[in-house]
Symmetry: C2
Subunit: 451 residues, 2 copies
């Protein structure tokens, strides 16, 4: 008998799952239908700032696969269709077609919730004024691109996380007068220790981006259209505002249906991506994932994890058996020619998770110091006192710095000690590193601190 | 009682050892004297091509520490002093001071042989003509820079290994008419499979460098100064020739003293860098090192390994106890904007070493495909059939490609399977990779092949 898989959410997790399930089960065995609320499916949200910056065109370049392409693989995708309710007893979902408001029910044998994350929207006065934007969906990106095209003019970015900083860089590229307001002493406060966050602030300032740290937006002021942003009571003129205040898992639908959430507030799943409710799966930003270092549930909103957990769900739905091995929270971004990356736990995070953690920092250059292209680079490695086991790393530096985080990710994935990483046979040639790659030197410093 | 450590060879291995021993034992406990045949100590041979290219100046920028700086740390360094014999029974070395030919003996309690490697010099007719050069020592680099400064003119590079290619690129940068002659179907034949070696050849040709593959230099022709290089009987005009035909361990001194060589022809050492002869140590290019995959002795001529084995010798000489964990043969270079790197075994090497090996190849881009800076990248991963254990990787691609080899190095170091690497939490943002880094995709392909 043919089963029917309904997927809620047509982006990375949902469509990876659909594709993997389809590879393993033909349409005669498994019908697959996906409902997506927005106008777009299967797109790269991470690429949006580069469209705003005018570096990636057209907007459609960010779309990996269209509904038509999915249809060719017998995957039915309906964009602008919002699932409004899940009934777990009758195994149906209620769907609203946004173009005409029509409402219908659909039956499922298997249901995958891949509703993603949504912006955190604190109740800042004036946030509904015209000219106040977010940068999450492709529609947001199209709108912000049109805004950027009308400039240059003053723009205020509220939030110093990576979406905020990438938006800041995008507007900077377009010649706008950019001010970033961060509530923290630095920026990227969830990735970096404060001193490294300040190094990023300095790089931004050197590129002419104003950064106001340790400050809060009290209100956004204007009549109809934004005119000023009040930061700690002081007005900053703004023709446009971008709110980048983080994201939270979109779980209202699951919650209303009685599907349990975990301690992070995201949907609880096991390592096969099954929720505790029979025949209901979850993957991507809306679902929890196990952190390999703490062993505890985490909720990481990254395209990599959405792809992977979707793939796991899809392989399992396809009849094979696979488990998701967990996350380390590896992240990377580029801000004004500075590459920033982090993995695992900072010393403070590690302490909060019950580790006795220490760290070591190495400062050097991205290439051999004598090469003309050498740029400063700092790497901090975190290790457990006594055992020397690696727990995390942070990297800030010029071209070539950021991807070194993958060496730490691989090391931590394997439970390596800092000393063992110090001696690992890493590559060297003058255009790429010093004889001892700074990864090894940072590991050595952490190993020393851990003794 | 004060001991006396004599170090033969004043470059990476020897001076790393000296420094590490000194950190642990003061001069009152350990005298340290190093003899170096050339005019320079503690320099970066790998940086020489960039001096020839005019990118690194002055030549002294390649010197990490001068004899005067070592003297401040109570390490006595004599350049232009050649050790001509070792007498293991009387524990003395014979030394010739090259500037005046004076000869003297020196006594040792501990002896470190760090004589490095020397160029392979096949008996090509005409190789002693003026205008025929090597690129190994800083003196070579100074001379070749002067040659390059007199150009542009035609230069022939004999050999398609990395020294040859880096020299080719250097002369190309200076506007010379460059021809590379490789005996192999491609270049970098010790690092890359033939098809990937050909990709490098294509990149070089696209930059205007002529590459003649599968060809041999029969003779170098000229009266006093080189005029032509005969390649398979056909003359190619040349104002200068650079021979880059690989290197062999410099072991004559050790051999004459009865210090055993291993199966590779390099000096046999245990993992503390001790030779079988009491009080005699060896490190760097002249010594063997254990290959972690084959478990057999290897002889790798790389600055990283010289530094590390020297450091191990020095820590042990300093009274602590440490073992060298071995090599994977990780290597990297840049040729005409193409980054090339390899680690571990190729499928053919693995078969020769007794593994049942398969490989998987992934082709993609260095960044998200839609980014303007995206460049082609190919990664091949090698794995053991059945177990899926990673055995090697080769990478050829644009900026950002090469250092990905360190992820494979770390994975292989830990005995990871290809499938486990596929699922490792690697970083992603559009300026750095696709959502699945090509490392993971290559690992997936290798895992598939290994099943």
């Amino acid at each position: 008998m043919t089963e029917r898989l309904v997927v809620i959410g047509g982006d990375a997790a949902g469509m990876s799952a659909a594709s993997q399930a389809r590879r393993r089960r033909p349409a005669s065995d498994l019908e697959i239908v996906a409902y997506e609320r927005s106008s777009w499916v299967s797109y790269s949200a991470c690429g949006e700032p580069y469209h705003v910056a005018g570096q990636v065109d057209p907007l459609e370049a960010l779309v990996a696969r269209t509904p038509e392409q999915f249809a060719q693989r017998d995957i039915e995708v309906h964009s602008r269709h919002e699932v409004t309710a899940i009934d777990t007893s009758s195994r149906t979902v209620s769907v609203r077609r946004l173009d005409d408001g029509a409402v219908f029910d659909d039956r499922y044998d298997q249901l995958l919730i891949a509703t993603g994350a949504t912006a955190v929207r604190p109740p800042i006065a004036g946030r509904h004024l015209a000219g106040v934007h977010e940068l999450r969906t492709l529609d947001d990106a199209a709108l912000l691109r049109a805004v950027a095209d009308r400039g240059p003019a003053p723009v205020v970015i509220v939030g110093g996380g990576y979406i905020g900083l990438e938006a800041a860089e995008a507007f900077g590229e377009r010649g706008w007068d950019v001010t970033v307001v961060s509530a923290h002493p630095g920026v990227l406060a969830r990735l970096l220790d404060p001193d490294l966050g300040l190094a990023v602030v300095e790089a931004m300032r050197a590129r002419g981006i104003r950064v106001i740290t340790g400050a809060r937006v009290s209100s956004i002021v204007g009549s109809e259209h934004v005119e000023n942003v009040e930061v700690d009571g002081k007005p900053i003129p703004a023709t446009a505002v971008v709110l980048g205040l983080g994201s939270r898992p979109e779980v209202e639908l699951a919650q209303a249906a009685g599907i349990p959430l975990g301690p992070t507030g995201a949907i609880a799943v096991d390592d096969t991506q099954r929720t505790p409710i029979d025949r209901i799966w979850a993957a991507g930003d809306c679902a929890e994932a196990r952190h390999r270092l703490t062993g505890r549930p985490a909720n990481v909103h990254l395209g990599t994890i959405a792809n992977k957990t979707g793939r796991v769900a899809g392989i399992n739905l396809g009849g094979e058996s696979i488990t998701f091995p967990g996350v380390l929270g590896t992240a990377i971004t580029r801000v004004c020619d500075l590459e920033v990356a982090a993995v695992g736990l900072r010393t403070s995070d590690a302490a909060a998770a019950g580790f006795d953690a220490v760290d070591g920092t190495a400062t050097g250059t991205t290439t051999a110091g004598y090469m003309p292209e050498a740029r400063p680079m700092t790497i901090r490695a975190v290790a457990e006192r006594g055992t020397g086991r690696l727990l995390g790393a942070q990297i800030v530096g010029g071209p070539g710095a950021g991807k070194r985080v993958d060496v730490f990710a691989t090391a931590i994935w394997n439970g390596m000690t800092a000393e063992d990483l110090e001696w690992t046979d890493l590559s060297y040639a003058p255009p790429f590193s010093g004889t001892w790659d700074l990864v090894a030197i940072a590991a050595r410093e952490a190993a020393r601190a851990a003794r």
